[in-house]
Each structure stands twice: as C-alpha cells, then as structure tokens.
C-alpha cells in the first residue's frame, strides 16, 4: 500500500488517470494537488483507492467510480460522481449541476449546495447534500436515496420511479407525480444510516427532521384520458 502525490500544475490529468487505472494498487493513497478546475479528475477508478483532490475540481470528477474513496477539498463542477457504481465521493465545498447523475451505487456526499438536476436518473446510488439542491433534482430517479439537509428548488422528484427523497427543509415545488408520504421506521433508519455514513458534519441533523418524498406512480401507466395534463 503506497502513497503517491501528483500536482496538476505539473502533471496532466490524463497521466494521473492512467496511473490510477494501470499502476495503482488497491489500498494505495493518492494525493492530487492544485486541481485548478481540471476536468475528469480520477474518472474511472476501479479499485479501493483513497484519493484526495485538493482545490476546485472541474467536470465529471470521480465519474464512473468503482470502489474508490474520493475526497474533494473544494467545489466540484458539472457531473461529479456521474454514473458512480460504488465507493464514496465526498465534496467538501459545493457541487454544480448534475451531481451524482445516473449513479448506480456508492455514496456521494456534498457538504455545500448542489446545483440543478442533482441525482437526475439516479439508478441506485445514495446522495447526501448538506445544503440545498437546485431545480429538477431527482428527475426520473429510478432507485437509490437522496438526503437533502437544506431546501429544494422547483420540480423536485419530477417523474420519480422508485428512488426515495428525504428533505429536511422546504421545497419550492414538487415535480409531476412526486408526493410527500409519511415517514416509516425504515425511513428514519435509512436517514440515520446515510447521515452517519456522510460523516461528522452531518451529525447535527436528526432523522426526525426529514420528510419523505416518493412517486405516486400515477405516471407508471399511460392514461389516454389525462389529455396530457399531469
């Protein structure tokens, strides 16, 4: 188990990602400094690595992650953790649009706000957001869980499938087919588990503060009489 350090001002992102894919061994620790908004940092990890990215990451940081534990000290650009399969990505700052889009598994933690379309088309991953999320978050999310400690903008959970959203703050508007539902004991346990996994920054929240949003499933079957009004 080795430790390797890269400086993105000296080494291009392609070389770093090549090292991650080809040369790194499970258990290695990789520190990447001066992220400088570069795109695709640590994309396509496929083993148990501990990766620390210092600075603000550009687009698709940690995309397609499998097994790696990735921490970004600053903010993350569009599509952080997109299509993640497993492992964990922790953004200490804020995240831009499409955070965790289409994630199949793993956990994405964002301490700050997330932009629009957070968790769009979520396919089984978990997302915990310390701040608020932008409009159209959870759009068409099929499986997985989202915990939002702040507020949500317009159209939260539009056209939801089986994913569940837990919201602590207020929602500006729910999307088509999304509805509030009573919290069950399983829901409280799920929120407690995700807050705990998200780390100490989230210990201040109680599962009792969260509301459950899920699909009313009225869009699951085509209704010719709806006259395109939902």
């Amino acid at each position: 188990m080795g430790s390797v350090a890269f400086d993105l001002e000296q080494t291009p992102v392609r070389e770093i990602n090549h090292f991650i894919h080809k040369d790194a061994n499970a258990g290695d620790k990789i520190a990447i400094t001066n992220a400088g908004g570069a795109h695709s940092i640590a994309c396509g990890c496929d083993k148990e690595l501990e990766i620390l990215i210092d600075g603000h990451a550009g687009y698709y940081a940690g995309g397609m992650n499998k097994d790696a534990d990735i921490t970004i000290s600053g903010s993350a650009g569009t599509g952080v953790g997109e299509n993640m399969m497993s492992g964990k990505i922790h953004v200490k700052g804020f995240a831009s649009n499409g955070a965790g889009a289409s994630a199949h598994g793993g956990l994405l933690v964002i301490n700050g706000d997330a932009g629009l379309r957070c968790g769009i088309s979520l396919k089984g991953g978990d997302i915990v957001v310390g701040g608020s999320v932008g409009s159209f978050s959870g759009f068409m999310a099929q499986a997985g869980r989202m915990v939002i400690c702040g507020n949500a903008a317009d159209a939260l959970g539009d056209s939801l499938y089986e994913a569940i959203i837990y919201l602590r703050g207020e929602v500006k508007s729910l999307g088509a087919d999304a509805q509030f539902e009573p919290m069950t004991d399983d829901d409280y346990a799920a929120v407690a588990e995700l807050l705990s996994k998200a780390g100490e920054d989230f210990a201040k929240y109680s599962p009792k503060e969260f509301k459950r949003i899920a699909s009313s499933k009225s869009l699951y079957h085509w209704n010719a009489d709806a006259n395109q009004e939902y």
Binding site: N34, G36, G37, A38, H39, G55, H56, G58, Y59, G74, S75, G77, T78, G93, F94, S96, N97, G115, L116, G134, S135, F136
Partner: protein, 302 residues
C-alpha cells in the same frame, strides 16, 4: 459551448494589470470556443477627447495595413473636428469629441468596409476570428488597461464564423453583451423589433438579445428591468454577461444550462464559464468562489 470571462478590478492601482490578469482567463476558455474571440474593455478616454469609436479594418482590402493616419487626417479635414487614432493591427480606437453619430455616418459613407465595433465614453471593443491566444497576441491584449472587461471565446452554432458575428455585441453607447448558449426565438425578437426601426447587422441570435435589451433600455427600463424582460421574452439557453461604463452584470437562464463561476476577493470580481479560467488569479485560494444561481441578476459596480 462558448466561453465567457469577465473581470472587474476594485482598486485603481491595479487597472494597469487588467490585461495581464485577463489573457490567461480568455486563453483558458479556448476549448469552449476556438473559432473566434472578443473583448470589451472599459477605461477612461484619453486627452481632451470624450468619445471613443472602436473600428475594425479586417473587412477592407487593406486589412491590417489600412491607412489609419489617413483616416485621422480625412476626419480633421472633412468634418472639421479633432480626431486621434490609436491603431494595433486590424483595430483602431478613434477618439473624438462631441456627437459620434455624424462621424459614424461619414465613415459609413466614405469607408463602407470599415466596421464600427463600439461607441462610448469608456468602451473599447475588439473581436476577430481565430484562436483566442492568437487574437490576444494580434491586439496585444496583455497590455490592456482599465477598470473592467467582458470577454468571449466562440464556438459557432447559430451563425457563421465571421468577425461581425463574434462577441461581444454592442447596443447604443458603453454597453456590450456576451452570450454562452443559443436562443430559439431570435427571429421572433427580430420580427418584434424591426418594425420599431431597430436595425440588425447580422443574423446572429446573440445580436437579437442585445438589440432587445437596447430597445428595453431605450423605452426607459433600467438594466434590471430590461433583464427581467429577457426572462419573459427570450427562449433558449443563455448565460449573459454584460458590461456598462460602470458595471458588470450576469444572468443565467432558469435551467442553468450554461455554466458560470465567480471568484471575488478584495481586489477583484472575476467571472468565467469554468473555474479553470480563474485558477491562475492572484490569491484565488482565499477567494469567495461561488456558482451564480439561475434567474438571478448579479450586478457588480466598477
């Protein structure tokens, strides 16, 4: 695609370094916009002149060897007003006093291929086709001085790659607009404005937005009201960055389809499509970095 950049310096002692800070910002957005680039920089007029007209000679037969001194003399002789030309390559700043409209009219009659880029007390505007780095070299961007600027790198989608269709676009005096995105109803805007006597120079969608804002301002709106009217009437994707004599303003469409990042310190407000164009700025590690929200108006005073 397309990239936008903006920089506003808070301390006059930094005004001499505006170009030096900006060039890496503009070049950093090359991947987002490799076909054209442009820049509007705001600085006080020089000497006893109170108006500046930016001119582009790239469409004339002479191109970069255009006889700028001859133009200066001809304006003195035919219009009877003092004029001063400061030229770099295809570009010149013509300084005059008094009403610029007769001068522009005279230029259009006598030098029909000379393209007027901008008019105002403070604005100097540059735009051309080519890679941002080569345009920055061509016009010596690194030595530009001023209080604030708006820049753009273009990847054309809605109209051809020509200097006139590069950004920024201007309307009236001391106003310019750059755009990342694409509008889906520019022809509707044109059909609404042309019967009101507003003239278009190109078929570019951003020009439609620029003329729309110009029209709202001429109808008495302030900038905030004009931008609110944009939210109501313009359809499509946009991050707009605007420059006026004393401010920068930024808006994003309700879907935030096109990116923007802001970094602010005690010395500057810097705006770019992506953080990688801000990463080189001094003291960036301690800057307040944030992503502007959709449908909000951000205005920074110079």
């Amino acid at each position: 695609m397309c990239g936008i950049v903006g920089l506003l310096l808070k301390k006059p002692e930094l005004y001499n370094r505006l170009g030096e800070f900006m060039v890496p910002m503009l070049v950093g957005m090359t991947e987002r916009g490799p076909d054209s680039a442009g820049l509007a920089v705001f600085s006080s007029s020089v000497g006893n002149f109170d108006k500046k007209i930016s001119l582009y000679s790239g469409l004339t037969a002479e191109g970069a060897s255009f006889n700028w001194q001859g133009l200066e003399g001809a304006i003195n002789q035919h219009l009877g007003i003092p004029a001063k030309v400061h030229a770099v390559n295809n570009h010149a700043i013509l300084s005059i006093s008094g009403n610029p409209e007769p001068v522009k009219h005279w230029i259009a009659e006598n030098y029909p291929k000379l393209y007027v880029l901008s008019t105002g007390e403070k604005i100097d505007l540059y735009k051309d086709i080519g890679l941002p780095a080569s345009i920055a070299d061509r016009y010596d961007f690194k030595n530009l001085k001023g209080s604030h600027l708006v820049g753009h790198t273009r990847m054309a989608t809605e109209s051809a790659v020509t200097p006139e269709r590069a950004h920024p676009f201007t309307a009236g005096e001391d106003f310019c607009l750059v755009h990342n995105g694409s509008l889906s109803n520019p022809n509707y805007i044109r059909r609404m404005l042309e019967p009101r006597g507003i003239k278009f120079e190109t078929d570019n969608d951003t020009e439609a937005a620029c003329r729309f804002i110009e029209w709202r301002l001429s109808e008495g709106d302030d900038l905030k009201q004009a931008l609110q009217a944009c939210f109501d009437e313009l359809d499509g994707f946009y991050t707009f960055l605007m420059g006026t004599a004393d401010s920068l303003a930024l808006v994003r469409d309700p879907f935030a389809c096109k990116p923007a990042m802001v970094a602010e310190t005690d010395d500057y407000v810097a705006i770019a499509s992506e953080f990688r164009s801000l990463a080189h700025l001094p003291d960036i590690k301690n800057a307040n970095v944030f992503e502007p929200a959709p449908e909000e108006m951000y205005v920074w005073a110079a």
